[in-house]
Amino acid sequence: MNTRLLMTLRVTVATPQSVGAVPHGTRRTVPLMGGDFEGPRLRGTVLPDGSGDWLLLRADGVLELDFRATLRTDDGALISMRSFGLRHGPPDVIAAIARGEAVDPVTYYFRTTPRFETAHPSYAFLNHLVTVASGDRRAEGPIYTIHEVL
């Protein structure tokens, strides 16, 4: 599999909304307060309204992420991003993340698969890209390094 860097996306998270036990696991919604992204072909900010990460902790200990965000490029294009992901690791590492501690991202699995939609001609290439990302969960919010699958 060959890939190349698409962008690095940093988001900051608001107070989580703990929905609690639902039929498929434990659900938590994390609204985003904002963020920014930068790569060779696009850069800009994350709109705080309407962006969030819908989390489901499964019975097998795997956290499923359903991340949705609206990005605005520095030249004014809006891009809708949706990303399914998984996060899991040793219990002590996951507990340290939950406490907001800095944890080396190689010690756990945090991968996502972003897809993009835009109407802006300059960024139409995003509509047909399959991408993969590795995540680094920091106290203020995750950092995603997103690679285009070539």
Partner: protein, 133 residues
């Protein structure tokens, strides 16, 4: 990003069911009649009853939405889905497979994300699927 081989998946399909122009594009339904998969950690056959829903966009690209059931050579059933993109003009055919199984031996599939590189052959598509490490 690092990846390692998971399976090579071959699918056989029946005649397409052409739904036609829908609000999202032209929808073609590809019934999957069978197939096989092979990798270091799992191998077996594809059960009939799977389907790939393929929507053609106005720009000539296709969005794929597939569901199949895999049966390993030791009898485990694995639910597999993928969404993906096929852009023949640019020879780009990539998918994002996901797996669900209740078999403890294959539970590692529940915990990984994967990428598929699709190839079109006369006897059906081949998907070279790699685990994202």
């Amino acid at each position: 990003m690092h990846a390692r081989p998971l399976i090579r998946l071959r699918l056989t399909t029946a005649a397409t069911e052409e739904i036609g122009a829908t609000p999202h594009g032209i929808l073609s339904i590809f019934p999957i009649t069978g197939g096989s998969f092979e990798g270091e950690r799992l191998r077996g056959t594809v059960l009939g009853g799977g389907v790939d829903w393929v929507t053609a966009a106005a720009d000539g690209t296709f969005e794929l939405d597939l569901r199949v059931t895999l049966e390993t050579d030791d009898g485990a059933l694995i639910h597999m889905t993928f969404t993906g993109v096929r852009d023949d003009a640019n020879h780009y055919f990539r998918t994002l497979p996901r797996f669900e199984t209740a078999a403890p031996k294959y539970a590692f599939l529940n915990r990984l994300l994967a990428v598929g590189i699709g190839e079109l052959h006369a006897d059906g598509p081949l998907h070279v699927i790699e685990e994202i490490l």
